[in-house]
Amino acid sequence: MEVTLRIKRYNPETDPKPEFKEYVVNVEPTDRVLDALNQIKWYHDGTLTYRRSCGHGICGSDAMRINGRNRLACKILMKDLGKKVTIEPLMGFRIEKDLLVDMEAFFESYKSVKPYLIADDAPSSGERRQSPEDRARFDDTTKCILCAACTTACPVSWVSDDFVGPAAIVNAHRFIFDSRDQGSADRLRILNSGSGVWRCRTIFNCTDACPRDIKVTDAIEQVKRALIYEQV
């Protein structure tokens, strides 16, 4: 089927500002948006630039705005988008080139919540024990692929540079509710600060945007409740 892709283009070496450019491509209905982008890059315009790797929604490289919503280009099929598809880079981060944005601030926020297990010495033999129920408490937030779809869908993130954003909170949640972890107090203190969870306005854009179906807003609320009731 013939589809028009309206793609926001920007080359910092030559363009004063981003502008839309249209491409008409012939795609299979079951093609991914990524396939359509590849078709343009490989056969029409080699300068079109975006990140991609695994092609099936697990590496987190190709989050972008597709018809106004944050999506992974490799997880959305052309048949679900209509004849005219608008593709833009994620909002809120500096555009590096075309659909590719500067991810440094995103990873800095992620690192700021201490996203690693903090625990005393491990047992000298065997594993730390954890019941299936305790394991289930943080299962949802282990699915995060750091694609930034949630953080760049959040209006609070768009207007403030210091909000850690939903993705960082999701990754803090993954450890706060892990029975093996002993760093919760520290993480909760970070998330109780001016850049933390209280900036969230419960808009649910993050939950809508998550390509892994993580209940992001719910995870943020769980962290808020842990702060209010001082227990996890």
């Binding site: 080359n11 910092p12 070496e13 030559t14 079951t30 991914r32 890059k41 490989w42 056969y43 315009d45 080699g46 300068t47 630039t49 975006y50 990140r51 991609r52 790797s53 695994c54 092609g55 099936h56 929604g57 697990i58 590496c59 987190g60 490289s61 997880k75 099929l77 590096e96 080139k97 590719l100 991810m103 990873f107 690192k111 201490k114 996203p115 690693y116 297990l117 625990a119 491990a122 033999s125 065997g126 594993e127 730390r128 024990r129 954890q130 019941s131 299936p132 394991r135 943080f138 299962d139 282990t142 699915k143 995060c144 692929i145 750091l146 450890f175 892990d178 093996r180 972890d181």
Partner: protein
């Protein structure tokens, strides 16, 4: 140009690279180079599990794991390495758990384990639960956990740096790498005492593959260009259950949990070929069974695919243990696995071959195992060899944590003794020239045309079933494409995120990998594991119970045989 000096530089931030980095962090000055962001690495796509004989749910022993690995690899496995793999797997899995990896748990809180293809109790008596897992996203959890540890240990990451050369002194000692910073187009020379190539595999040489687009064999090919031989390149694993036409992996865990593969007549045909293990026969065999069914007209509607059926499993098993892979079927094929079969076909999945190493992950340059000083390799880029002619499911994750860890530890021991060697004159010259040529050429061949032709040729003529006829055709085609590549031209001439340039560089590397796959396949006149020759159907232990080491010089290509290390298990016929 940037110049940096580190005790160790690790190329590739997947499981092997990060596992090595964590051994070195805080004890040596190290850098980790990745052309992606580390958590994007392809380790994250691994699904089903990581095997270790923990015996948490039923009796198991590392000797059984070792035996399965050797037999699964059709006796081409080096048994000293398989012993290390299966013994150290146990401790490595515990180490991952201690780092925070969220494994699924048994009711008493231990790491849960499940069945996987080719893993057996009591030397082949029946299936065993050996695969430790985290739903069907075990690789995702490994890459996340190791990246988290990298952050904790303040590892120095060179994100989005593309490897463009490996540096050697005149007498062949490795002394650093050259990278191309994708964001700026700047060249960086990283001078190092030790270099670890953990840059992964090269499944993208085939048309249907489960591999990420980044799987282009950069580190393997660049070492090969410097005369380092590649080992066992003819052994390339096709995973039996890739989504039809897309190649996206549907984990063997689907069959481990009870899924079956059925043909166009509704028959669960695996039992006919492998009466004991049935659908849990090793991957090389399952892929050939499917090939045979399709060839004899028993594909679905006579087409080139069959169905993976999990619809008889309890819905909660599907939701809790196979959530991601069943979601792939829904998203990409519009199939609901709870009600209907998933269309599947074999997909290029894993390179058993690569840079030959010893059990300390040092790259070796000849059949007598002489190390290349300073150069290491681990993970899919390497060939230890623990996978032999066919890797067992879950053993790739075991390989990268066990040998990534050994690489890091050995590098650490060497760093204290080694001095920085002088760099060659103009160390960046070779890479700069390659890039300059690509940028300055205005008209020429298109990258995508050469790449898609290569992928078709490799799929049609050098995949699940091969013959001298098909391989000679492939050889001529790859030669032609190598020539065409010399006149490739790109449109993007910029410095900022020139990903058209990096795709061209990757194509060059893939062509070198393809060349060695075809050459090794032609030379090996037997069938063993994943290498199946319809003109030499039998395994030939008299002539070919040996690794192949392929190298290229001005005089052309050459193959040297390297003896297999046999310690415990004498080669036998492989039946399941």
């Amino acid at each position: 140009m940037g110049y940096h000096r580190y005790d160790a530089v690790i190329v590739g931030a997947g499981g092997a690279g990060l596992m090595a980095a964590i051994q070195l962090a805080g004890k040596a000055n190290i850098a980790v180079v990745s052309k992606l962001y580390p958590p994007r690495s392809h380790t994250g796509a691994a699904q089903g599990g990581i095997s270790a004989a923990l015996g948490n749910t039923e009796e198991d022993h590392w000797e059984w794991h070792m035996f399965d690995t050797v037999k699964g690899g059709d006796y081409l496995v080096d048994q000293d390495a398989a012993e290390v793999l299966s013994q150290e797997a146990i401790d490595a899995v515990y180490e991952l758990e201690h780092m925070g990896l969220p494994f699924n748990r048994t009711p008493d809180g231990r790491i849960d384990q499940r069945r996987f293809g080719g893993h057996t109790r009591d030397y082949g008596a029946g299936p065993v639960r050996r695969a430790c897992y985290a739903a069907d996203r075990t690789g995702h959890m490994i890459i996340q956990t190791l990246y988290q540890q990298g952050i904790k240990h303040a590892v120095n990451f060179f994100d989005e740096h593309h490897l463009v050369d490996i540096l050697f002194t005149e007498d062949g000692q490795c002394c650093g790498v050259v990278t191309y910073e994708i964001r700026t187009g700047e060249i960086h020379v990283i001078h190092a005492k030790t270099v670890l190539i953990a840059s992964g595999g090269f499944g993208r040489v085939f048309k249907i593959t489960s591999n990420a687009m980044a799987g282009t064999g950069d580190g393997v090919a660049l070492a090969y260009r410097h005369g380092v031989p590649l080992m066992d390149m003819e052994f390339y694993q096709f995973h039996p259950t890739g989504l039809y036409k897309l190649g996206i992996l549907v984990s063997e865990a689907a069959r481990g949990e009870g899924g079956i593969v059925v043909n166009g007549e509704g028959e669960a045909f695996a039992a006919r070929y492998a009466p004991t293990l049935k659908d849990l026969a090793p991957r090389d065999m399952m892929s050939r069974f499917i090939y045979q069914e399709v060839k004899e007209g028993r594909g679905i509607d006579g087409k080139d695919y069959v169905l993976l059926d999990v619809s008889h499993l309890p819905p909660e098993v599907i939701d809790q243990k196979l959530p991601d892979v069943t979601d792939f079927a829904r998203v990409y094929l519009g199939v609901e696995p709870k009600n209907e079969g998933i269309p599947i076909q074999p997909t290029a999945h894993y390179a058993m071959g690569g840079l030959a190493t010893n059990i300390d992950a040092q790259v070796i340059r000849d059949a007598s195992s002489t190390p290349v000083p300073g150069l290491y390799s681990a993970g899919e880029a390497a060939c230890v060899s623990v996978h032999g002619a066919n890797r067992l499911g879950t053993n790739s994750l075991v390989d990268l944590v066990v040998f990534g860890r050994r690489a890091g530890r050995h590098m650490l021991s060497q760093i204290q003794e080694l001095e920085f060697l002088p760099l060659p004159k103009n160390p960046e010259a070779r890479a700069v020239e390659e890039i300059r040529c690509l940028l300055e050429r205005d008209k020429g061949e298109r990258v995508a045309d050469i790449r898609s032709r290569m992928q078709e040729v490799m799929m049609d003529k050098a995949s699940v079933v091969r013959s001298e006829h098909s391989l000679l055709e492939a050889w001529r085609e790859i030669e032609t494409l190598q020539k065409a590549f010399k006149s490739v031209a790109i449109q993007d001439k910029g410095k900022c995120y020139n990903t058209e340039l990096t795709e061209a560089l990757e194509l060059g590397c893939m062509l070198d990998c393809a060349e060695t796959i075809v050459y090794g396949s032609l030379e090996r006149t037997e069938s063993r594991g994943a290498h199946y020759r319809e003109d030499y159907e039998a395994r030939d232990d008299k002539d070919w119970l040996a690794h192949s080491m392929v190298s290229r010089s001005a005089g052309g290509m050459r193959l040297e045989k390297k003896p297999i290390v046999i310690t415990k298990f004498e080669p036998k016929e492989r039946k399941y």
